[in-house]
């Protein structure tokens, strides 16, 4: 069953767009307390894109990212990932999609405390069932790619914010995912550190062909993307190519 999901996603990759939202709504609460976080979003993101999502607080950016990241399902509408209808999948099948095709980078890093950088990066590989030796070499490679070679034994508490975020990126890319979802990855960093992270994401997009979807409040950071999607009040208000990059 699980292999079928993964297999189908691979098969349909060419035919269907990588990410396809069609009339997606998300409603929290019931009756009087009903909150529309998303109101009928239509969005297509192709493989290899680097898209930035901007918009005021509460406009539904994180809600959309959670749905795209298969952490959540739409209340209404369809979300297809690589042609697979995610709304029809169970929790474990969505976990398998995340495990095999998606990587997450969060504003607050979300590393395991009191756990070395290496162990943090190995975590997704453990769930993939990669044997220990291979896991270690893959994690070391990912850490080197984000410029943290030699820091593998450090705990998060021994690393700066920028370094922690790079460990998180290493963890996101170690499984060679199709998509990285980054919700305000530079939100906790100063602009110099933020730019380093953006350079890293840009390189991953350009050199490895990883699709990147990033939420940000900072126009400077959005400049790195080649597409800019603006959310207002649970709707896509504008969706433009980045004039600077293209």
């Amino acid at each position: 069953m699980t292999d079928k999901v993964a297999g189908k996603a691979t098969e349909d990759r060419q035919a269907a767009p990588l990410i396809h939202l069609e009339g997606v709504s998300k409603i929290y609460g019931q009756g009087e307390a009903k909150v529309y976080a998303l109101r009928g979003i239509d969005l297509v993101i192709q493989s290899g894109e680097f898209a930035a999502i901007m918009g005021p607080s509460g406009s539904g950016k994180s809600t959309a990212m959670n749905i795209i990241g298969c952490l959540d399902t739409p209340t209404e509408g369809h979300y297809r990932f690589g042609g697979v209808e995610v709304g029809g999948l169970g929790r474990d099948q969505r976990a398998l999609l995340r495990r095999n095709f998606l990587g997450f980078v969060f504003q607050g890093y979300n590393l395991l405390a009191r756990t070395s950088a290496l162990d943090n990066v190995e975590l997704p590989l453990i769930y993939q069932g990669v044997p220990a030796a291979k896991r270690k070499s893959m994690a070391l490679e990912a850490l080197a790619k984000v410029g943290l070679a030699g820091r593998e034994s450090h705990d998060p508490s021994q690393l700066s914010g920028g370094q922690q975020q790079r460990v998180a990126i290493a963890r996101a890319i170690v499984t060679r995912p199709d998509v990285i979802l980054a919700d305000e990855p530079t939100g906790n960093l100063d602009s110099a550190r933020g730019e380093e992270i953006m350079d890293l994401l840009t390189a991953l997009n350009r050199d490895e062909g990883i699709t990147i979807i990033m939420v940000t409040h900072e126009p400077d950071m959005a400049e790195y993307a080649d597409r800019l999607i603006r959310f207002v009040d649970g709707r896509v208000e504008s969706d433009v190519r980045n004039p600077v990059r293209n």
């Binding site: 952490l71 474990d92 976990a95 398998l96 995340r98 395991l112 997704p124 993939q128």
Partner: protein, 403 residues
């Protein structure tokens, strides 16, 4: 993956070492109690059996009174036994090698400034034969002393030590209430029996002396009958019952008004008491195990709440419900197995101390140890399941947002 899960569980346990220890304390105590009690209980049972065998498995005890009373219970209204009954048993039953009358009272023996509370038994020389007991020094009773009811006594080794220390007791006069009796012999030392009673703490008098000057009647409280080496105890017992029914004129259909016990019966009765005690205390220990399990559940629930964010991260990177469930389940199993292991070691140490104090053999039972270990694993599964399921069912988004 499985190895990873175990490693992860150990990591989590070591991170909170003190808390982990306090968590498993209930299991440690429960398991230790079971192991210690069962081991000491088994030791005492073995000891009782060994003692009874040493006393002579071919020894029968006859007491007046209705059936279903233990050998220690006092006589009811039934007619007492007499020395004539003893002689009849010994001479008329071929299977009985020797029979001896005994009657006993607790009394204080005084010599000079020393006094000692002991058991004074009226009997005759056949007692020594029946119980296979030698005189260490001095002599046994003369026939004339037995016939006349002379004030002569044979003392156990404890009496010798208590009243005379290193002095020579032979010929000395011991006071027993109003009688003054001369020590004619000292029994060889036998040591403590299984219940810690000192077998050497006794004074023997001629039965006649005891009847006339202490009891004031002709009763015999208890008859010992030693069965011939190669004769069946069962058959000897039946012989005695037939003879006594005849002598006491009990008509057919009427119940015996006396009891014949064999040592096997007494042994099984005594070990029965130990078994009941052991199982009773083990039940208490089982309750403690249950409480220990609830302790584990409590701490696992706290752990799940504390580690909500960690669970969110694991779910986000692709852990399935089953994998998270397994992680927490393994953690509680490992925790309770460690508790069980500590409990087993502690229990064996306590049992070692216990058997020293009770002077019984150390008889650890591998089955009980295995069961205790298995039981702690079961506690881990049962009480760990609910918290683990709660962890596995967490919503990843909520969990990630958790502070």
């Amino acid at each position: 993956m499985f190895y990873e899960t175990i490693r992860l569980a150990l990591q989590a346990i070591i991170r909170n070492l003190l808390r982990s220890f306090l968590t498993v304390l209930g299991i440690v105590i429960g398991v230790a109690a079971v192991i210690a009690l069962v081991t000491v209980g088994q030791g005492s049972t073995d000891q009782v059996e060994a003692d009874v065998t040493a006393l002579g498995t071919n020894l029968l005890m006859i007491k007046p009174g209705q059936a279903s009373q233990g050998p220690g219970s006092t006589t009811g209204s039934a007619a007492s036994l007499t020395v004539k009954d003893v002689d009849a048993i010994e001479t008329q039953i071929a299977r009985v090698r020797v029979a001896t009358p005994t009657s006993a009272r607790s009394m204080t023996a005084i010599y000079g400034n020393e006094n000692h509370a002991t058991s004074v038994t009226g009997t005759d020389n056949r007692y020594l034969v029946a119980r296979d007991w030698e005189i260490a020094f001095g002599r046994s009773f003369y026939d004339s002393e037995l016939r006349a009811g002379a004030a002569a006594c044979i003392i156990g080794d404890t009496i010798r030590a208590e009243l005379f220390g290193n002095g020579d007791p032979l010929g000395a006069a011991i006071r027993l209430k109003q009688i003054s009796c001369r020590v004619i012999g000292v029994l060889e030392a036998r040591g403590a029996s299984s219940f810690g009673t000192d077998q050497d703490d006794l004074i023997l008098l001629p039965i006649r002396t005891f009847q006339h000057r202490i009891a004031g009647n002709q009763d015999v409280d208890l008859i010992y009958a030693a069965v011939n080496e190669n004769a069946s105890t069962e058959k000897a017992k039946a012989d005695i019952e037939r003879l006594l029914r005849e002598r006491r004129r009990i008509s057919a259909g009427e119940e015996d008004d006396f009891n014949v016990f064999d040592m096997k019966q007494i042994s099984s009765m005594l070990t029965g008491i130990t078994t009941v005690l052991t199982s009773l205390l083990s039940a208490v220990a089982a309750v403690s195990l249950f409480v220990g399990g609830i302790g584990i559940m409590n701490i696992m629930l706290v752990s799940v709440t504390e580690r909500t964010r960690e669970i969110g991260i694991r779910l986000a990177v692709g852990a399935t419900e089953g994998q998270v469930l397994l992680q927490f389940l393994v953690e509680s199993i490992v925790l309770s197995l460690i508790g069980g292991l500590i409990g087993i070691i502690l229990g064996l140490v306590l049992a070692l101390i216990g058997v020293r104090i009770l002077a019984v053999p150390f008889a650890p039972d591998p089955t009980i140890i295995g069961v205790a270990f298995l039981f702690s694993a079961v506690v881990g599964v049962v009480f760990g399941y609910f918290p683990a399921r709660r962890a596995a069912r967490l919503d990843p988004i909520e969990a990630l947002r958790h502070q």
